[in-house]
């Protein structure tokens, strides 16, 4: 059977700009230095958001993928960029979260008056652009090796964000994160070379035609999945995540928890559904979901036991990442239930991104106001920062899966898919996870909203616009739940595993 030759589609050039602009901005920020770094980010934020929306509009209008064949060299010799509905939706998510974090972080990472340049602000703004470009590359790549490079760029942009303050404990958290990530990337690369050896191409579209269920493919998918799970911090490879995400400055925690871990998750989805649909088999998908279920239970229970707010939110990320992996046994194959599970799993990734970014930034504001983030000492904060605490609670509702949030729709779709396909045990996990999530949220909200007889805790002022940014993100995670279900059709466009099914 001759391989289909990839050709650039109209609008494909947008994909190149989505990669070039952040990369060029990062280089320029580093070259010009000083205050220019922040200005470059502020200029690129609306441009990048516009590009992401344009890509999504292009995918929706054509009802097909956007492709750009770089340099006119078609795969397997050349590289292609490919935006399907999943890429487009995640690109918009990335752009919105990055823009919100950028606005929020202006107060944290300002170059001090009187000095030309400071290390932490320059590093933060440059890395933020690098991270954005790397995420776009992860979402648009169509070549497994190209994706490896994108994933490494993402890691190298994310690790220094953990230790911006240079304290020993954050340095050691960053080092642990980096070592996990490096091991993950080597396992991924090992799988890639096996696939190339067996099938002679690394292009996702071409591979999906050629891959068969045989030992070479099984070994490769196992190695690559384990490697990617180390980067996604799925239980039991989550040990690096809580200290790294909790130790980072609040805006950095927000991008790390909301976006960076999703990058490697999206690659697992690509691998299991696009590259080799059905090859890993039902039992393997059950194992993956079992790890997800364990992550939900362990992450939530550990979150319940934390004394510090940021640690609690970080463990909640461990738990919420578990939900993402429930989609693997539920979304395979044709039919209505798998379709819902696919939408539910990805919607969980998207709504968690908005909710978690809002919660980490809310925690940052609370810590700034009170000077600490001990949960026991949160008394009265609800009166000091009502908008922030409200945003935190809204984000929490989405994590719990209460209507009308995006998290509710996501978990509802997963739940119905589990019941419809007769895999009721995953439904139990989803419900139990929601209850546990409620438990740790009430641990925070009870002291935060406690009546302190009019005594306000001693607090530092917090800029109003920063509270508004946090609330805005939390509201986005809510609004996702109010959209009609049909509007998530975008997520189905360009699925390679569906193309194979008549």
């Amino acid at each position: 059977m001759p391989d289909p030759v990839a050709v650039s589609t109209p609008g494909g050039a947008l994909l190149v700009w989505a990669l070039i602009l952040p990369a060029a901005g990062a280089l320029l920020a580093l070259a010009l230095g000083g205050r220019h770094a922040e200005r470059i980010v502020l200029v690129l934020m609306p441009v990048g958001l516009g590009l992401a929306v344009a890509v999504a509009a292009g995918v929706l209008r054509a009802n097909a993928v956007l492709v750009y064949v770089v340099g006119g060299w078609a795969p397997p010799l050349g590289l292609a960029l490919r935006a399907d509905g999943l890429s487009a939706a995640m690109m918009i998510t990335t752009a919105v979260v990055v823009c919100a974090v950028g606005l929020f972080a202006r107060a944290d990472f300002q170059t001090p008056q009187g000095s030309l340049e400071a290390r932490a602000p320059l590093a933060f703004w440059t890395l933020l652009l690098g991270l954005w470009g790397a995420l776009n590359a992860v979402l648009l790549g169509d070549d497994l090796f190209n994706l490896f490079v994108a994933l490494e760029l993402l890691t190298f942009a994310a690790v220094p964000l953990v230790c911006l303050d240079g304290r020993a404990e954050t340095l050691s958290a960053a080092l642990r994160y980096l070592l996990f990530a490096l091991l993950g990337s080597m396992l991924y690369l090992l799988g890639t070379v096996l696939l190339y050896g067996a099938y002679g191409t690394l292009d996702i579209v071409l591979l999906s035609d050629r891959v068969r269920a045989e030992p070479a493919a099984w070994t490769a998918v196992t190695l690559m999945t384990v490697g990617l799970l180390a980067k996604t911090a799925l239980f039991p490879l989550h040990l690096w995540l809580p200290p790294a995400h909790a130790g980072a400055p609040a805006p950095a925690s927000a991008v790390l928890s909301a976006l960076v871990v999703k990058g490697s998750f999206i690659l697992v989805v690509r691998l299991w559904f696009d590259v080799m649909p059905g090859v890993p088999g039902h039992a393997a998908a059950q194992i993956l979901a079992a790890l997800g279920a364990a992550a939900i239970v362990f992450g939530s229970v550990l979150a319940l036991r934390q004394a510090r707010l940021k640690m609690l939110i970080a463990y909640s990320t461990v738990a919420q990442l578990g939900y993402l992996f429930l989609m693997f046994p539920l979304a395979a194959g044709p039919g209505v239930a798998p379709l819902g599970a696919w939408t539910g799993g990805l919607l969980q990734a998207i709504s968690h991104a908005f909710a978690k970014a809002a919660m980490f930034m809310a925690a940052g504001l609370i810590a700034q106001a009170l000077g600490h983030d001990r949960i026991a000492g949160l008394g009265g904060i609800g009166r000091v920062l009502p908008m922030t605490v409200f945003a935190f609670a809204l984000g929490g509702l989405s994590l719990m899966g209460l209507p009308p949030s995006g998290g509710f729709v996501a978990k509802w779709l997963l739940l119905t898919a589990a019941i419809d396909s007769g895999q009721w045990w995953w439904a139990l996990v989803i419900v139990a996870g929601g209850l546990l999530t409620g438990g740790y949220l009430f641990r925070v909200l009870t002291p935060a909203l406690a009546d302190t007889d009019g005594h306000l805790p001693a607090h530092a002022p917090v800029a109003r616009y920063r509270e508004a940014v946090v609330l805005g993100l939390a509201l986005v995670s809510m609004v996702l739940g109010l959209l009609p279900l049909a509007s998530f059709g975008l997520l189905q466009i360009g699925r390679l595993d569906m193309a194979a099914v008549p």
């Binding site: 230095g33 000095s115 090796f145 340095l171 070592l179 091991l183 190339y196």
Partner: protein
């Protein structure tokens, strides 16, 4: 035994040793070295695959050779970042100057504070 098989087995051995070392060593520096061993095994495997896929009249398939160069650069960059973090951690642990977010103006790198 053909040379492809021989080198393939060598690559597997390196991957195995690297993985073993990475898992059992608690010291970050040793884990980093184990990571590099693992990496060497993977890169050798790229060479083996290039050799095996050689077309008539060519010494090897050029694509894996092009990929392996990128792979080596990425592994090098990762190792350099890890070593830089280790050095900073060592300084901070000795109670040395661990500058906060407001280091003096441009110019001075981070490594030259000793």
């Amino acid at each position: 035994m053909s040379e492809v098989t021989l080198f393939g087995l060598g690559a597997s051995a390196l991957v195995g040793i690297g993985l073993y070392g990475f898992i059992i060593q608690p010291e970050p520096l040793r884990r980093l070295l184990a990571f590099n061993l693992l990496g060497s095994g993977v890169f050798l495997l790229f060479g083996v695959i290039a050799r095996r896929g050689a077309a008539a009249g060519m010494g090897g398939d050029p694509i894996p050779q092009a990929l392996v160069i990128t792979g080596i650069i990425v592994a090098f960059a990762g190792s350099a970042l890890a070593v830089a973090l280790l050095l900073r951690l060592h300084q901070a642990d000795r109670g040395g100057a661990a500058p906060g977010g407001d280091a003096p103006p441009a110019g001075g790198g981070d490594g030259d504070r000793t």
